[in-house]
Symmetry: C2
Subunit: 343 residues, 2 copies
Amino acid sequence: MVNKSVRLSDIAERLNVSTVTVSKALRNHPDISPQTKKIISDVAAEMGYTPNFMARNLSSRKSNTIGIVVPKIAHFFFGSIIESIYNIAFKNNYEIILTVSQEDAEIERKHIQTLLSMRVDGIIISITQETKDYSIFETVKSRGVPIVFMDRIPQIPNIDTVFVDDRGGAFKAVEHAIKLGYKKIAHFAGYTEINIGQLRYLGFEDAMKKYNLPVNKDWVCRGGFGEKYGYESFMKLYRENNLPDLIFTVTYPVALGIYMAASELNLKIPNDIDVICFGDAKVQKFLSPPLSCITQPTNLIAEKSMEILLEKINKTEEITYKSIEIPTELMLRGTCINFNKKK
Amino acid sequence: MVNKSVRLSDIAERLNVSTVTVSKALRNHPDISPQTKKIISDVAAEMGYTPNFMARNLSSRKSNTIGIVVPKIAHFFFGSIIESIYNIAFKNNYEIILTVSQEDAEIERKHIQTLLSMRVDGIIISITQETKDYSIFETVKSRGVPIVFMDRIPQIPNIDTVFVDDRGGAFKAVEHAIKLGYKKIAHFAGYTEINIGQLRYLGFEDAMKKYNLPVNKDWVCRGGFGEKYGYESFMKLYRENNLPDLIFTVTYPVALGIYMAASELNLKIPNDIDVICFGDAKVQKFLSPPLSCITQPTNLIAEKSMEILLEKINKTEEITYKSIEIPTELMLRGTCINFNKKK
DNA sequence: ATCAATAAAGTTAGCGATTAAGTTACTGTT
DNA sequence: AACAGTAACTTAATCGCTAACTTTATTGAT
């Protein structure tokens, strides 16, 4: 026994009023008297009325929906950001359409297309490692749909962005290491084509230069942002018998890869090889030794992104663009706290 | 310069055909000749046509959208499941509306309401720890919207469910420990009001009974599924000077809490206190020692849930309900591999 | 040559809401 | 008494698209 869902007109018919009266009453429109409102909303509740999103959005030309595009979600950083965005959206009466590009530019493109199809009121996106064709963003812009780029941002002018102080954060980590006494410092840099990779690399370089330390090419490894890359890069250096004293990694999964490799090779962290990474995650403090890092306040990133987006959605007149940099902090735990000379 | 988005009628006008012809052509309807289709889709692409989801769905009374409700997402288990569901949905041309209840039954209720509003074609849900009022699920059912309960499932008849063999898995872990020689075994059980908590507890009890070991009330702690609970419960036992030899935890974050507490107290795992948990997560192998566990194949859970849901969506006639149990495995790493007598 | 069958469109009528533009009936002002 | 003003509704017109018919050629079988 499937109840066809109740429509405004069903309520209207039963109460012998017009559909519009019911619509207005339920939206608390001043045209309707308090008594009528009361009666209508009572009956609506009794009949189990659920407004039809599609119809409402189609006729009002607003979707009250925000689209999100992230490269992945089974990952602390994005998971937390999404959760925060979610909460803020909820408070502001917006729905979230979450899409995951899986680091695939083609999928990303399709998702954005879908979001446009759904007529979302705005989009928050963190682009994939490989996104190079930015034309889709032009399309979004030309449709008048506000879009905020977060964390991973394309190199194009006139966009709203919220990003972490990657360069400064990386600098902070490496400078700290140098001050401890480290000189043989490697950097597992991930993808340096994308802003976060490039800037973290530059921050690393800044620090090395400032203290007149040479940047050893063999110790700047590129590849990916995941565990596998960290594991393999470390193994490679080990095989070449060319291990540094400390490795600064572009993300924490990369550091995890090092932990795994070191454990296999029976090397002790931080004594045989020391590590510090960019990016915080709850598990780091459970590692042995607890992994030190540069924190990225995910809640701030989410807050600022939503703030900008909601502003854009609500006022269409002035077209200014904001770039907000989120500060980082050095979080010292069990690594990179002493200089450990290799024996 | 905001381009109002292109409509079917804009394309129709330009080509001097009817709107319906364009609609059919773009949906590859056999009514339209190949040549016409080609012309229309070329022009549509050129004009940058994006179908209006709302209008399409309203008119066709199908949304091609699946709603998901989970308690949280910044968590490996749910994160992976969502990612898998996402992929399957994508392949089958469905969109996902993801909602997060944050373990709050009230929020959960609202989300389900919203999903109904959006006229999703089906729902996959993992309920909150505290969901007790199941009336909303009746509403969903009476609306004819297929719903699949996954992992955390309510105790009501005639529903489709996909769940892990919690009792058997827990039994497996505890039996393994007992066979190693452990007798003083505690269980940090989380919330035993919800199926997963209760069944894992029962599995623990089964094993203890089978080997004639007493279940010590002080060693069965209840509270939550998170790190904090693990930490606090462990500290409490420690203060009472009542530590067991091994603790079987209901989730891996609870085990993480124990790792943290042990590290603070300078107790060595697995020698001073041994641990094994229910639930796998990528990070476990990076812990020191790597944490042994009962695995829950998240991809299987996702696959089966989607399989059932899609089936339900596609055939409305027969009303049968499926309950699928996903098997678990014992994954031994660095804990619970030897019997460590407390000194 | 006639008629049924098919191909390839075109027409009509909503889907379930909302916005904008009327109606009434009543109130109060001068 | 006449008229403007307002409160509380109603009517009409879409929103952009699709399902279900209907129409018009064109083809082939008899």
